[in-house]
């Protein structure tokens, strides 16, 4: 009896969460049709969706499996390049690969096939790197994966690989988020989808990760994070499960890289720096290690702060004839760093700890019931 009641409660909280997510999607769709396409809101949503996916993929490793990896930028780079290389229209290849005679690849794949391929390529690299690297523990694994990301960055700029990667020149002219907009016969946009689509892609991928986390494999990964020795004694093969988590995480980082390419309109290896990995690590920590909801929320907050809300700090501001001191180019980063330090010092659990959206709703429901009981007893 009590079991049935509980199941019902879980269902209603989950359904409510789904409704909230769908409502957000509907709002974004409406906003996109009504607000001007140049609004900063859309920039934040597009980049936020991209970062949310990469952050959740990193959380899968760092928060749920307990593998401290810092290779995310490297896998994003692989994804971004694979996407770019295979989606540049054949007629544009001469312009892009101008120093390499049009490049080696002379065909074009559909966008979604290329995105899938981007993920698979990243996962394949993860598999290879994982063979030696996953024997390492904690900090050593972080250093090794960091090193891998640096090597990949150098490799993709190598002149000899130019016919494929375009060397240190950027890849461009491939389909971007704006190509998701539906245009009428006259070339005018009739339905704006350039923000909704990245959110949908990201949402589907994150949904798959959530399904994985809640499956028997997800439980095995969490068990390994809690206690490797006990997990192994319960028959969980550590090596294969670590490799699995590493490859899946990299797959989604690769897809995220493809999305970043679409967001930026261009891809250049030198922009996938360690700093990018740190940004994502920061998002994960601020959101809460072990919370998918936290990673998503903090991605959008992070991107909004860095791209939009704190921009005014970079310009001279005059308030009532008084020039506010300190505000100049670069000051935004100082304030940003201070905020981050405060978060790390005083909110170490992050925004969500290890809670998810349905947990929050369950909490509110519980509180509501307790209050109702209190009223009745009075």
């Amino acid at each position: 009896m009590s079991n049935n009641l509980q199941k019902k409660k879980i269902d209603s909280a989950t359904i409510l969460s789904a409704v909230i997510v769908l409502a957000v999607y509907a709002l974004v769709f409406l906003a996109e049709q009504t607000l001007p396409a140049t609004s900063m809101l859309f920039t934040v949503l597009k980049k936020g969706a991209t970062y949310a996916l990469v952050a959740v993929s990193m959380n899968l490793l760092n928060g749920f499996t307990g593998l401290f990896s810092l290779g995310q930028a490297g896998f994003m780079l692989i994804g971004a390049y694979v996407y770019g290389i295979f989606t540049i229209p054949v007629m544009s290849r001469m312009d892009v690969y101008q120093y390499y005679n049009g490049g080696l690849v002379q065909f074009t794949l559909p966008v979604f096939v290329a995105m899938l391929l981007a993920g698979l390529a990243a996962a394949f690299f993860a598999f290879l790197i994982g063979l030696p690297v996953l024997r390492l523990k904690s900090d050593y694994l972080a250093i090794a994966t960091l090193g891998f990301a640096e090597i990949i960055r150098a490799l993709f700029q190598w002149d000899k690989l130019g016919p494929i990667t375009n060397g240190s020149n950027m890849l461009r002219l491939f389909p971007t988020f704006n190509d998701f907009n539906i245009r009428g016969a006259d070339g005018q946009v009739t339905v704006y989808l350039s923000t909704l689509m990245p959110l949908l892609i990201s949402g589907v991928c994150i949904g798959v990760i959530i399904l994985l986390i809640n499956s028997t494999f997800g439980r095995a990964l969490r068990a390994m994070k809690d206690d490797e020795i006990a997990a192994e004694a319960m028959g969980i093969r550590l090596a294969s499960h670590k490799r699995l988590a590493f490859c899946i995480s990299s797959f989604f980082a690769g897809v995220g890289g493809a999305m970043l390419a679409m967001y930026q309109n261009t891809v250049q290896a030198k922009s996938f720096t360690t700093a990018m990995t740190y940004e994502i690590l920061l998002i994960v920590v601020i959101g809460g290690l072990g919370s998918v909801t936290g990673s998503c929320i903090s991605s959008f907050l992070f991107v909004a702060c860095s791209e939009w809300w704190l921009r005014f700090l970079d310009q001279k501001q005059v308030l009532g004839g008084f020039e506010v001191p300190l505000l100049r180019n670069g000051f935004r980063l100082v304030v940003f760093s201070i905020i981050i330090m405060i978060v790390v010092l005083f909110f170490r659990q992050g925004i969500m700890g290890t809670k998810e959206l349905p947990d929050l709703i369950r909490g509110w429901q519980g509180r509501g019931k307790r209050q109702a009981k209190g009223v009745r007893s009075k």
């Binding site: 494999f217 969490r222 206690d227 319960m234």
Partner: protein, 266 residues
């Protein structure tokens, strides 16, 4: 009745110059409860760790149901039918009681990560959950299933570790000091509990324990080791009256002070 389940053949473990276990041989038969006892640091847990694959023995062989399992990985050995608990409790701390036991069903899965992610293994998942429920009812933890594992009182945590080990469907259950930290009444209940689950799940039980009342009360046979070497083997009655055992536990003259300390600890 006397079908051999676990055969330990001249097992030796050296850590550098230290010989932790020295030429240990044991035979454990189906349906028996066998205890391994000895003073602190005698090498009991090391022996356990070799049987479960945590350590690779320097010399010797371990045979489970006729199959040589020496040097196999811990997860392989668990799959072959040896489950264990730990001296210092090692529960999955981020999980509830229910999830702890559920996780132990992972090794008998037939799904891969894709079928599991996309819920094509719903029937298997349901079976895992039903079995977990049944097992929790069996050991009396069902009411606590949604509590966090680490929030349970100490005795219940030990019980949960046993339940988790049972979920891997072992033929041999290794218990590393299951009564550590329990009061006399809890210890007595634990003894009854071990006998019960042994019959119910058709187990063979191999345990390390310091509570002599428990060991003498439930064991069919007892092996005694000291400084890694076997010094006695026999029924509880035989072992209790063995002069070598008495010497090891109570000490001979020059070790008297130390021995008294050990007795106090017990």
């Amino acid at each position: 009745m006397s079908e051999n389940v676990l055969h330990i053949d001249h097992l030796t473990m050296r850590f550098g110059g230290v010989v932790a276990v020295n030429d240990l041989s044991m035979d454990i038969n189906k349906g028996e409860i066998v205890a391994l006892i000895g003073p602190n640091g005698a090498g009991k847990t090391t022996a356990f760790n070799m049987v479960t694959g945590v350590y690779q023995p320097t010399e010797g062989h371990i045979t489970l149901l006729g199959q040589d399992i020496t040097g196999r990985r811990p997860d392989e050995i668990t799959k072959l039918g040896i489950a264990r608990t730990f001296q210092n409790i090692r529960l999955f701390s981020s999980m509830t009681v229910f999830e702890n036991v559920l996780t132990a069903h992972h090794l008998r899965r037939t799904s891969n990560f894709l079928t599991a992610t996309f819920r094509l293994n719903a029937a298997e998942e349901r079976r895992m959950r039903q079995e977990t429920e049944a097992l929790l009812k069996e050991v009396g933890l069902y009411e606590l299933r949604d509590e966090m594992a680490t929030s349970l009182p100490y005795g219940k945590q030990r019980l949960l570790e046993i339940a988790r080990a049972l979920a891997t469907k072992p033929s041999v259950l290794l218990l590393d000091e299951p009564a550590a930290g329990m009061n006399p009444q809890e210890t007595e209940e634990l003894g009854e509990f071990i006998k019960q689950i042994k019959d119910k799940f058709q187990l063979t039980v191999f345990l390390i324990e310091h509570h002599m009342n428990l060991v003498m009360g439930i064991s069919d046979r007892i092996y005694v080791i000291d400084f890694g070497k076997q010094i006695a083997e026999g029924t509880p009655f035989e072992v209790q009256n063995n002069p070598a055992v008495i010497a090891a536990y109570l000490g001979v003259e020059e070790e008297e002070g130390q021995a008294e300390e050990e007795v106090e600890q017990r």
